[in-house]
Amino acid sequence: MINKDQLQNKEEIPMIDIKIDGKAISIPKTRPHSVTGKQEPTTIIQACSIAGVDIPHFCYHPRLPVSGNCRMCLIEYGIPAIDRDRKPILNPDGTPVIRKMPRPAIACFFNDTATTEIYTNTEAVKQYRQAVLEFLLINHPLDCPICDQAGDCKLQEYVHQYGQETSRFVEDKVIKPKKRAISSKIILDNERCVLCTRCVRFTREIIGIPALGILNRGGLNQISNYPGSDFEHNYTLNAVDLCPVGALTSRDFRFRMRSWFLSETKSICPGCATGCNIIIHSRDKQIYRLKPRENDNVNSVWMCDYGRLNYKWVNAQNRLTHVFAENTDGTQVESDWLSTLKKIISVLEKTPPKTTAILVSSRLSTEEIYLISKLAKRLDAFTDSISHLGEGDSFLLNKDLTPNSKAIQIFKLASKTPGDRIAEISKNIDEGKIRNLLVFGEDPIKSGIAPGILGRLDLFVICDILVNPSSKEAQYLLPGASFAEKQGTFINAQGRVQRFGKAFSPIGDARPEYWILANILTKITQESWPLTPEGIFNKITATTPGFENMTWELLGTVGMDIVSTANTTE
């Protein structure tokens, strides 16, 4: 939650010494405000977070304004005692006497700088937690067995950890609306809600649209949108992430999988050039949901709904899962990697310079794009890429809807306006100058290559993830791997190199494009090329300006910025 680098960089902020549960620790006197960024006195929950002491909480969220309504984070604290003359009372050894205050404070809001000791595990604190949880459970439906949040639920965790075993409640529970579709993406269950107002504050403070509010009073309190107006926005699903219980559930994920069956993989959203850090939740080679992962340099803790729901193609029906090769009669039949690659290599080995064109998708990883640039250099090939532009917005969504256009520019596989060489390539194919066409992740016909002329090529290879209208024209059809099925890096629009991990092995016979490319390159250049993204990346760092300080290890989970922009601005 607290970024350690940020702490170290702010040297001008004075440190104060406090004790948390008897352990001495030095904490900065002020911390930046969650929304405005202005320095404000460090709250107890922030101090405990720095000390690694867990304080249970519902309404507090490090990225939202403090509300202080759930009372879950009550703690006890002590301040130096003073006598009648307001002089500090000292122990015989000269240290001040610390008196525990008679009443508790909410850790999320309390920031009295006189505080010198914090107690988070006293008998009283345990009782406060138990009492708060008992109140929260009074009207909670306890429907965990059918609740999507079970396993991720803060209420469930805290009750297990701090709650009492049995309920003393014998009255009737308050009936509130259930299963309310508050938007096309979200279902609201008011009975499960603990009224922490995280979603309300999110809509008001982060996306700036007060779409949600609290209606009624007392026990009948309920979160609601304005009747008749749906809560529609490109960032609404963040409210589902924020919800500590199962009140807000995503319609996309609802009832599809229990959360504890899902394995989590750190990845990068391939939806646009922003490169939001994400976590892939998957099971049995199937993606069930994407969730944002914290990275202050890129997406804070948010991601857009477009990116979040843009994963269905990985497990789509028209996924290419086998190698296909064209038969003598022109039909495509299933083939194997070994013989197919052999045939492709034998053509490429003998082809004269300037007879090959390579169409590259900016959805490939940096390593793959780098290998393609090496292949293009060896073959003296024409290269181009295609831009996929959308609308974008002012928050996270970039108008470039591919994750790695920057790498295409760095390795000079296309001009500043990708796609402007297509007409030339098409003309050269037509005139018979280009004999080979290799396409990675694009649809050549849709990109602008005349459909009638593809039959004239000596070699026409399409390597893609999904079947596209041009696929049936190809001599060789190679199934590639999606972002979830391989490791690699993407370079976002700001020039930040970020690693994405492999959630599961490629579906069917599919292989990562870097594997295909490294195999081809090894044969036709007579050099040995690494078959791992790590090996390829470390080769990039050795030869590419701006990457000097990087290694695969150093990229870590949050990535690194390219140092010099000289090679990207030209």
Partner: protein, 168 residues
Amino acid sequence: MEFSVPNILKNKIDELILHYPEKRSVTLMALHAFQEYYGYISNEAIEWIAQKLSLMPITVLELVTFYPMFSQEPLGKFHFKICRTLSCALKGSKNIYTFLCNKLGLDPHLHGRQTTADGRFTVEYVECLASCNTAPVLFLNEDFYENVTEESVAELLSLCEQKEGENE
């Protein structure tokens, strides 16, 4: 259909806006003005106020649902507000309420405000009316009645019928 607010109400709200440093502070007073004028606050009214004060309708709706004195449905012509806070409760305001409900064909066990099917009478419990020494007490529209009994309530009902007859 466009919701049009009569000039008298519009002017009142424009005047109210001048009294506050921020426009949103007017919300509560504007709601009172609408409640007084129409007898209830419709969704159109909420949206009109929200637009007038540059707010989202949900923020106005929050207030409307929070305060019991605002009604989202039209109220009866005769509105009984029976106190149920301690003194009145001890002096039997529940009996008065039950009696009144039974007389008007309403269900005394239902929670909240009730209006008869013909839209003439509304009965509800309210909190303290600040007249504990004369408990039980009730409001009939803007008129205050002290030391009420079942007999006096029956009288009040016939008074209502009489008033209605006069107006017709």
